[in-house]
Every structure is written in structure tokens, then in C-alpha cells.
Amino acid sequence: MSEASFNIRYSDEQAMLADTAVSFLRSKSTFEHVRRYIGDAAGYDPDLWKEMADLGWLGIALPEEHAGAGLGAAELVSVCEPMGQYLMASPFLATTLAGQALLRAGSEEQKQAWLPRIASGEAIATLALSEPDGSWEPEGFAAKAETRGEGYRLSGTKTLVLDGQNADLVLIAVTLDGVPALLAAETERLAGRLRSEILVDETRRSARLDLDGLELPASARLEDHATDALRYVYSLAWLLLAAEQAGGANGVFDLTLDYVKTRKQFGKVIGGYQAIKHPMVDIMMEIENTRSLLYYAATVFDGPGGESGIAARMAKAYATDAFRHAADRSIQFHGAMGFTYECHAQLFFRRAQWARHSFGDAAHHRRHLADLML
């Protein structure tokens, strides 16, 4: 493609959302705050969640008729990048992705019932997608639903259900009559079936969901287009995770930069040594590249197909490696301090690991990109 075709658009709305998010998160999502919720079962601050809802973040990409702001993926990116930078812990990603699935595949009744509650922050929602085989693409779900009387009977296992233990609503991806389907389950129906997982990123929460024998009414099924809706939310996840990774890379880079500017050894500030300075510049360049790829992907995003899908996969692939590299060097450049639990570098390192393994690592996306582009 010629260079002339690449464009990056950035609207006033995006800039305002980003400015608000940065100042809000800088003061609220401090390291101290983030660490306080590591030991908490829910893993997030309900008061902060309420404030995020009041800022309108939970309805950014929901239509006005469902109490949202009627904006799009690019505006979600504007708040996700700062969330990564300040290690925000909340069910934002889970709820946003589930809301979009509901919007795209839900019946009018389901949308009316849930979307306004999601937009107001009253309801937390999530998607049950992953399975023990670790597939990162929305096809061939081993979890099954069979028609049983007026409803469905499910079997199989879901893993890494984001904020499953916090959710009021879980949209479960299964194979039904040979094709992917989404079934909505209020969490009262899932009692005893959710087990909190131990995640590498201690600021996140996820759950394993045992489906064997679960019965759901006919009304649980989201209307048609589950396949399209699933593909869309996967591609949106690539984009939003890339945004979080870009922010995370920036956050851990700033932490490292502060340290190497103050720490002295052999009578000199260690950031003056080229063994530190040069890789710091390499990481900075990777972050710049990440942000360019990210905001281009945000500019062209309209789902998984064509240029949008290519740009989103590229952003996720590149951001994954960049965040990992920034976190990896942060541990090393902090020296023995970097190896401690107390040092904040580990928070970013763990976040980088989690993000790499969520919705496809870099090699996975490059394999798909090769099939699309070579």
C-alpha cells in the first residue's frame, strides 16, 4: 500500500476522553490503590466503578437509544490506553466486550433489559469464550448446547472468563446445531459453577466455568449472527488490548526512566551508561511505533474484516512484543530491587504477560496476517 493511504484521525471527542481519563486515573488509580485491590476477591473498587460510569465510559460505544454515548471503538481506545498506563483494575474490558456482543446479537428484549444497566454501571457483564484447549479464534467451540424441551442443556468447560466472579450476566459461547451460538446466563443460574482462577496478573479477575448439566431457558439464546458478533468482539478485543498494552508499555517505561535517572553506581547515574541508555531508546521507539499502529488501527476500525482486521491484528502483535520488552527490561534495569514484590515493575510485567496470552499472542496474529497478506 502506498504511504499516502495511511491516515490517522483523532477527533476532539477522543482527545477530551483521553485527557479526562489521564487526569482521573493518575489521581485515582495510584500504585497504592492498585495494590490495595490485589488482595480483594472482586479485585476492583466499586466506588471507582461508579465514577467511571458517571464519566460515561461504560456507554461510550453503546447507542443513545440504550443510554449510551453513541461513539465507537476509537473512543474506547482513548480510555483504554490510560487504563493500561495506570494499571487500572476493573471489569471495563469484560463489560465493554459483552455489551458489544449483546448489541450485535441480542434480541430487542435482551438489549432493552441489559444495555442501559451496563451503560449506567449497574450491571457487569462478560463473555465466556476460552476453553481448556486455549484456542484464540472464535470457532469450533467444544462447549455444546443441546435443545432440551423448551430450553437448552449445556456441556463443556469455559476458562479465563474475565470478571466471571463479578458479573451479573455471562454470555456463553457454545456450539449449537453445528454453529457458534451465544447464550445469556444471569449469574444466579451459575451458582457453584464458577471457580476463581489464579491469574499471573493479580490486578485482574477471571473464572473457570463448568457448564456440564447447566440448563438455560429458550429466551437465553441471543438472536442470529452469533458468528459475526463473536468475530467483531474478538477484533475489538485485539484493538482494546493493544491500547492497554501501549499504555502499559508507557507506564513501565516511565517507571524505569525515573529509576535509571536517579540510581547511582560507580559514582554515576546508571542511565548515563550506554548499556542502559541504548536499550531505553530502543524501547521508546517501540512504544512510538506501537502508538502509531494503534491509532491507525483505531482510525480504520470497523470489525475483523479487510484493512480494519489487518490493522488491529498488527497493533496487537506489535504492542504485545513492545510491552513485554519494556517490562522485561524494567525488571532487569531495576537490579535486585526489580526482582522484589515491592517494586512496581512486577505489576506491569504481570500485566504484560496476561495481555500477551489474551486474545492471541504476537506469533498467532502474525500467522493469521501471513495468510491474509502473503
Binding site: N7, S292, M314, R367, M373, L374
Partner: protein
């Protein structure tokens, strides 16, 4: 390339779209046929008169058609149009794989520096002939003992009446054998309070007695750069830029243009652009271990990595113009990192393009079985000219680390 089909719509004014159409049509009509002799890949490999005459003729044609120096002021030979017009033309030249503009040091480094810091007389004297390639320029910065440590340059220029007498040794001087002029950094005051304060900048004529140019052979086996010896060479004082002792500041301005960190260059393509599309063409002809190279998972993964980075380069330039998307505290990053990232990218890409060729990767330019006449073997070796010239990658790391990140000097 597959993504041609899925290119997003261009958001371009009708005026620019029309210009794009016009220049594409003009290029189609006017790009010269293959001359039947080997052409250089970059301006650093011009090694004989035949190549120089061919490229000089092409640049003149482009200039006279109004497609070079489009955004430079009319009174000095430019066309006084918006920069966006030149950018569109430059993109089309690259897309059409047109031969490159040979007078790179004039168009990209010396010219914008003269426009920015030269006297009115100097602008009138030099700029038009840079555009028309009537006068070729070279750069006298590096010396055998002072490469990365440019501020320590020891070539002397001693004032005598209306002249300076130059003595010293410049090296790695691209196109010196064809150049009529050199941007010269020389020491006018060896006793200045610091090494930088003793330097002065000149637009030195090359056709004066006491200037000797000797070719230096490059690792590729080709020629293209030289050493230049000054032995009591007399140049007029009127070719000095700024005052005595201000040379370091002028040289820094040149380097900012050279590294693409400042804008204001004449435009035009500067090399035969090799992209991942060309690597793909090579890969389609190549076999590894008995199978098409493009079936090799290693080749596929690496290829996509390069495609992603290849997009990041122009996207960084786009983002450089979106104020709100610049990383706080590092606003200059997308511009300052361009040279380091671009040159290192090309070094790695050309190595990969050789690497994917299986056993044939061991063949070199000149062997009839070498894939694409060994274009990548040649490009791979030549890629070091950009990672070393204009400030090595190591120096670029220092500059970015110190200026942008605020890290202390080592």
C-alpha cells in the same frame, strides 16, 4: 501486495488528487528506459560518469517539469507551492520506481541549510543549480580521526585577506569526484574556549588548486565515496555561512535535515526504494530446503514482522502532525527517531531478503544464477552506509537518549 485491494480511502483534496494523477501520467511518459548499464541503488553508489550523466539528466528533467523544489521560494528557483504538493509528487516518484534524484546532498542537506541560514547572495547563487543538478554537492564533515566526534574536526581554514586557506583531510565524501561544491566544516580558531566554538561553515568550491579527490572502494566492490585532501586551497571569504565560530550550529542544522528530523528538503525520491513488496517478489522465486520460501513458517513470520514495521515508519510521520497524539514529554520522538529506525530497519530487511534465499543466498551480484541479480546482496552491504553515515546508530541512540529521555551523557 494483497493490501492494495483493501487500502482505505484516501482523504485528499481534489486538487491533490488531480496533481497525483497528473504526475503519475507524466512519470509514465517520461521515466527513461533501462539504459542497459548497472545503475546505483542510492546516491552513495554513483561510480562512473555514465551513471552520473544519466541521473543528472533525469533530475534536470524532473525539475524543469516543475516536480522538484516545488515548495522552495520562487525567487531562488523553486516553485513556491505548498509542501503537500511536493509530498504527493515524491510519493508518486517512489511508487513509479523512478530513478532517484542524484544531487541528494544539495537537495536535502545543503539546499535547505542555505535557505535557512545562508545570505541572500548565497541563496541566489546556489539554490537553483542544486535543483537543476547543474552543480553537484558533497559534504566535508568526517575526517580520518574525527568521525562520530565531529565537533573535534581539525581541518584548518586560516583567514588571509578576502580568502581562507584550507588545509586538512576529509573522508567518506560521497560524490566528491563529481561535486563542484562542498559543505565544509573547518577550524578557524584552534584556541577557542571549547572545540565547538572554533568551527566555521563554508560552501567551498571544489575546482580550486590544492583540492585532491581520491576514490575509496567500498565493501561491495563498487565505488561511490572518496577522500578529499586540502593543501593550501584558497576559497573566498564570501562562501562562509554565518560568522566565524558559528560552524557547529550550522552543521547541526545540516544534520537535522540529513536525518529527516527537520523539514524543508527539496523533495524527490533519494533511492530506489526497496520494500517488503520487493522482498515478497524475491521470496516467490526462492526455495529453501527444497520448498518454496513462502511456505516456510520462519519466512512467513519474519515477513509479517517487517510488514508491520514498514507501516509504522510512515505512520510515525503522520502521527508527528497530530499534536494530541504525541507522547507527553517526548513530542519530538517520531521525527528524531526516523533515521535510526529507518536505517536499522533496512539493514535487517535486506539481510532477511538474502537469508530467505536458501542456498542461492550465497551467490553474489554478477553471477547469472543470483536471484534478482543479487539486488539484495548488494543492498544488504550498502545498508551499512545509512547505519554509519550521518551519525552512526550508536550516536543516534546517544542523541535520543540524552535529548528526548533526559539521560545524562556517559
Amino acid at each position: 501486495m494483497a493490501d492494495e485491494r483493501t487500502a482505505p480511502e484516501q482523504e485528499e483534496s481534489p486538487e491533490l488528487r488531480e496533481l497525483r494523477r497528473q504526475v503519475a501520467a507524466w512519470l509514465k511518459e517520461n521515466i527513461p528506459a533501462d539504459p542497459g548499464f548497472k545503475l546505483p541503488q542510492t546516491f552513495m553508489e554513483v561510480e562512473n560518469e555514465q551513471q552520473m550523466d544519466f541521473l543528472r539528466g533525469w533530475q534536470r528533467k524532473v525539475y524543469e517539469a516543475g516536480y522538484l523544489g516545488m515548495a522552495w521560494p520562487e525567487e531562488y528557483g523553486g516553485y513556491g507551492r505548498p509542501q503537500s504538493h511536493q509530498d504527493v509528487v515524491t510519493e508518486e516518484m517512489a511508487r513509479a520506481q523512478a530513478p532517484f534524484m542524484v544531487n541528494v546532498i544539495g537537495l536535502f542537506w545543503a539546499g535547505p541549510t542555505i535557505l535557512k541560514l545562508g545570505s541572500e547572495e548565497q541563496r541566489k547563487r546556489y539554490v537553483k543549480n542544486i535543483l537543476s543538478a547543474e552543480e553537484i554537492w558533497c559534504q566535508g564533515f568526517s575526517e580520518p580521526e574525527n568521525g562520530s566526534d565531529l565537533g573535534n574536526a581539525q581541518t584548518r581554514a586560516r583567514r588571509e585577506g578576502d580568502e581562507y586557506v584550507v588545509n586538512g583531510h576529509k573522508i567518506w565524501t560521497t560524490q566528491a569526484e563529481y561535486a563542484s561544491h562542498m559543505i565544509l566544516l573547518a577550524r578557524t580558531n584552534p584556541d577557542a574556549p571549547n572545540k565547538y566554538a572554533g568551527l566555521t561553515f563554508f560552501l567551498a568550491p571544489m575546482d580550486v588548486p590544492g583540492v585532491e579527490v581520491n576514490r575509496i572502494r567500498k565493501m561491495t566492490g563498487e565505488y561511490g565515496f572518496n577522500e578529499v585532501l586540502f593543501r593550501d586551497a584558497r576559497i573566498p571569504a564570501s562562501v562562509r555561512v554565518g560568522e566565524e565560530g558559528e560552524g557547529w550550529g550550522v552543521a547541526m542544522a545540516v544534520l537535522m535535515f540529513e536525518r529527516g528530523a527537520s523539514e524543508g528538503q527539496a523533495g524527490g525520491n533519494t533511492m530506489t526504494v526497496l520494500t517488503t513488496r520487493h522482498v515478497l517478489d524475491t521470496a516467490r522465486k526462492a526455495y529453501r530446503d527444497g520448498r518454496p520460501a513462502l511456505e516456510d513458517p520462519y519466512v512467513r513470520d519474519r515477513m509479517v514482522q517487517f510488514m508491520i514495521e514498514e507501516r509504522a515508519i510512515p505512520l510515525n510521520r503522520r502521527r508527528a502532525h497530530v499534536q494530541k497524539l504525541l507522547t507527553p514529554g517526548r513530542e519530538l520522538a517520531p521525527m528524531l527517531m526516523g533515521k535510526l529506525m529507518g536505517s536499522e530497519y533496512m539493514r535487517r530487511l535486506s539481510d532477511f531478503a538474502v537469508n530467505l534465499q536458501g542456498g542461492n543466498g550465497a551467490l553474489y551480484m554478477g553471477d547469472p544464477d543470483a536471484i534478482d541479480n543479487g539486488v539484495w546482496q548488494r543492498a544488504q552491504m550498502n545498508s551499512y552506509s545509512a547505519t554509519i553515515g550521518g551519525g552512526t546508530s550508536e550516536i543516534q541512540h546517544n542523541i535520543i537518549g540524552e535529548r528526548l529521555l533526559g539521560l545524562p551523557k556517559g
